[in-house]
């Protein structure tokens, strides 16, 4: 009996590990130093950095969403079903300046494939630097019904390009003194 128990337990552990829970993984994105542009400090770490208003864009290092894990899809009854596979987390703090005077942090997500770095804007979001983080979800696998069977749907596998980067800008008001970016995705193990 003990052997049976042990065998069942071992099997349970094996099954559990085979269907390992997807774990969210956070990756800090480095700021990419841009030559010939005033990027304040060219900070190459994931620490906070200021973003100059209406100035040169600040860009993160390139990252990829290839090979990331896709969670199980929970679905309702139609094409609104989707699953989030990753998110871009942006922290922006005005550090005392007047947030409500129009100071806006603009986050643009670019994607590309191939070897020639032809990036295209795939998403753009605006937020106020309130000292909080805001997240930009990235979706995949949106099922559709036959009514739109042949229609191109930009929401399918949204934003999952093998080469991606995030460009941050302060589009209005004064300098946003404290901004940083991270990427969260699911890991299979």
């Amino acid at each position: 009996m003990k052997k049976i128990l042990f065998a069942l337990f071992a099997l349970l552990v094996a099954v559990g590990s085979a269907h390992a829970e997807l774990k969210p993984v956070t990756t800090g994105l480095r700021w990419q130093f841009v030559k010939n542009a005033v990027t304040n400090d060219g900070n190459l770490t994931v620490s906070k950095k200021p973003i100059v208003p209406d100035g040169p864009k600040d860009t993160t290092a390139t990252f990829s969403l290839d090979g990331i894990c896709v969670p199980a899809v929970s679905y309702n009854s139609g094409r609104t079903d989707s699953v989030s596979i990753a998110r871009v987390v942006v922290y922006a703090d005005s550090a005392g300046s007047d947030v409500f005077s129009g100071q806006t942090v603009n986050t643009n997500i670019f994607g590309a494939f191939g070897s020639d770095d032809s990036y295209v804007l795939v998403a753009s979001y605006n937020t106020r630097p309130t000292g909080r983080t805001f997240s930009i979800p990235i979706y995949a696998n949106v099922p559709v019904n036959s009514a739109s069977y042949y229609a191109p749907a930009a929401s399918d596998f949204n934003y999952t390009f093998p080469k991606m980067k995030i460009v941050i800008a302060s589009t209005n008001g004064s300098t946003v003194p404290s901004v940083r970016v991270a990427l969260q995705r699911f890991d299979c193990k």
Binding site: V15, H19, G114
Partner: protein, 201 residues
């Protein structure tokens, strides 16, 4: 002892049920070469670089092998006799088409470039292609990225998921464009395919 055995067995069954059926599937990207066709003015570029698309001259990619692609669980409605519906479908892949007109078109829809696409499939060894999807991309000025999903669809109402129409062992995409006025060449175009693959850990 029996209680312990029962508890372990119950936990085992629960683990099987709760385990996410789609977890562990990864997204993969594959670049697609242009298929050289000496009978067409395709410029003969066989690599994953941008190439021009000339009006009225269809350009086709090479075949993308779908072997070992993962098929997600089908979402299904409850309208079918047995729960499944022929409306149910799921995307298993997509072609990503980068297009840069690099030319000035007016924003009037009637004169913007219209890019027709055909997704073809083939089984066996003779490359007898059949059409599995068609559509149109409406181009505008500048660079754009289009996503063209490839679906599997439930064929028989009342049947449950996995009764899909079948994923051909090879698929490819053909592009051709027309324009009412303006430049007759789309200066830069390239294609990639994205699909799911099971976790190979």
């Amino acid at each position: 002892m029996k209680k312990i055995l029962y508890l372990v067995a119950t936990a085992f069954v629960m683990a099987l049920c709760v385990a996410p059926s789609y977890a562990g599937t990864k997204i993969q990207t594959q670049s697609v070469n242009w298929l050289f066709n000496s009978n067409l003015t395709t410029n003969g570029t066989r690599f994953v670089v941008k190439k021009p698309i000339i009006v009225s001259a269809a350009d086709t990619t090479d075949w993308v092998t779908t072997t070992s692609w993962a098929v997600p669980d089908f979402p299904y409605n409850t309208s079918g006799a047995g729960g499944g519906s022929t409306n149910d479908s799921v995307s298993v892949a997509r072609f990503v088409v980068y297009v840069d007109t690099l030319a000035s078109y007016t924003t009037t829809a009637s004169v913007n470039p219209s890019i027709a696409y055909t997704i073809e499939g083939a089984h066996g060894s003779d490359n007898s292609a059949f059409t599995i999807a068609t559509g149109t991309l409406n181009g505008t000025d500048g660079a754009e990225m289009y996503s063209i999903p490839v679906y599997l669809q439930n064929l028989i109402a009342g049947e449950y998921p996995n009764d899909f129409s079948g994923l051909p062992s090879r698929i490819r995409i053909r592009l051709s464009f027309s324009v009412a006025s303006g430049p007759n060449t789309i200066s830069a175009c390239k294609v990639a395919a994205q699909y799911f693959k099971t976790d190979d850990k």
